[in-house]
């Protein structure tokens, strides 16, 4: 617990520090607005088309796959921390087989992803 309250404060201080730099830059830097300067740069030419264009649904699929596999990885961590102790207390095979079962089921999922060509990015 004690190491976390400083952490919260550091988040705040980080924000304040970043803000201080920006404020300093705001004070020191020039402020000369002009229509052309404040236009979007994009690629140096006049911006064309809709800036918030639509794009491939594949990004969504990647995020989806990430969540599913990440949940799995999160479950693996407590197990990994315990595994060394489990070996020492003779529970190694028990722990190991449980996790292998868990992993195999999810590995089937990964194979399904390959089978459906869900991550072919064209």
């Amino acid at each position: 617990m004690n190491s976390y309250i400083p952490l919260l404060l550091l988040f705040l201080f980080g924000m304040i520090l970043a803000g201080a730099f920006l404020a300093l830059s705001h004070l020191l830097g020039p402020r000369r607005k002009s229509k052309d300067k404040n236009a979007s740069y994009e690629c140096g030419l006049e911006p064309s088309g809709n800036p918030h264009d639509r794009f491939s649904v594949k990004f969504y699929l990647v995020a989806m796959l990430f969540i599913l596999f990440d949940v799995e990885v999160v479950f693996l961590y407590p197990w990994a921390v315990q595994f060394k102790e489990a070996i020492q207390s003779g529970m190694g095979s028990f722990f190991f087989s449980e996790m292998i079962l868990f992993m195999v089921i999810l590995f089937v999922g990964l194979l399904y992803v390959y089978g459906r060509k869900a991550i072919e990015w064209e």
């Binding site: 976390y4 969540i67 949940v71 999160v74 722990f95 868990f102 999810l106 999922g109 992803v113």
Partner: protein
């Protein structure tokens, strides 16, 4: 003399972050603002988990909800055509009915909160929650743990089936 502990201050700050951002989610006119406001809410909840002495759950909250679910929601918003131009918000309709309901609910909640029903955790020194969770998962809650993998598999197959159909 009752002293305000650091913990209480931290709680108040985190609660304010959580509630403020939740308000942002509910009242923003642009849906993209609502999406980004979720960051504060999820972050605040992670902080509250730490106050409950569960650091692993807090980090998981950040990893899964901020790194995963929030990104997914943002992708969904950004994938939607011309979403930036649309200003929608929860319209306030039927105030006359809503106010008594909210007042009643508030009275009920306040009265139940102020009662002496809370279990206060013993002030044990802070310990890592990871090994505790690991033991609990692999000994007591073994079946739910294995079922989780099936649930994840179903979710995986389901999402691919839906998305592949959309692509075609």
């Amino acid at each position: 003399m009752p002293m305000i502990e650091l913990k209480d201050i931290a709680f108040i700050i985190l609660a304010l972050i959580t509630l403020g951002s939740a308000g942002g989610v509910a009242f923003s006119k642009k849906i993209i603002y609502s999406g980004f406001s979720l960051l504060g809410s999820l972050f605040g909840v992670a902080g509250l988990y730490i106050l409950l002495s569960n650091d692993f759950i807090a980090a998981t909250q950040l990893l899964i909800y901020v790194g995963g679910v929030l990104i997914l929601i943002l992708f969904a918003i950004m994938l939607t055509s011309k979403i930036g131009d649309i200003a929608v918000t929860n319209k306030s309709i039927n105030w006359k009915v809503a106010i008594p309901i909210i007042a009643g609910l508030a009275c009920f909640l306040i009265s139940s909160f102020s009662g002496d029903i809370w279990k206060v955790a013993d002030k044990t020194p802070y310990q890592s929650s990871v090994s505790f969770i690991g033991n609990a998962l692999l000994k007591e809650f073994l079946l739910p743990f294995e079922v989780i993998s099936i649930v994840l598999l179903c979710a995986l197959i389901g999402s691919i089936v839906i998305l592949k159909r959309e692509v075609k």
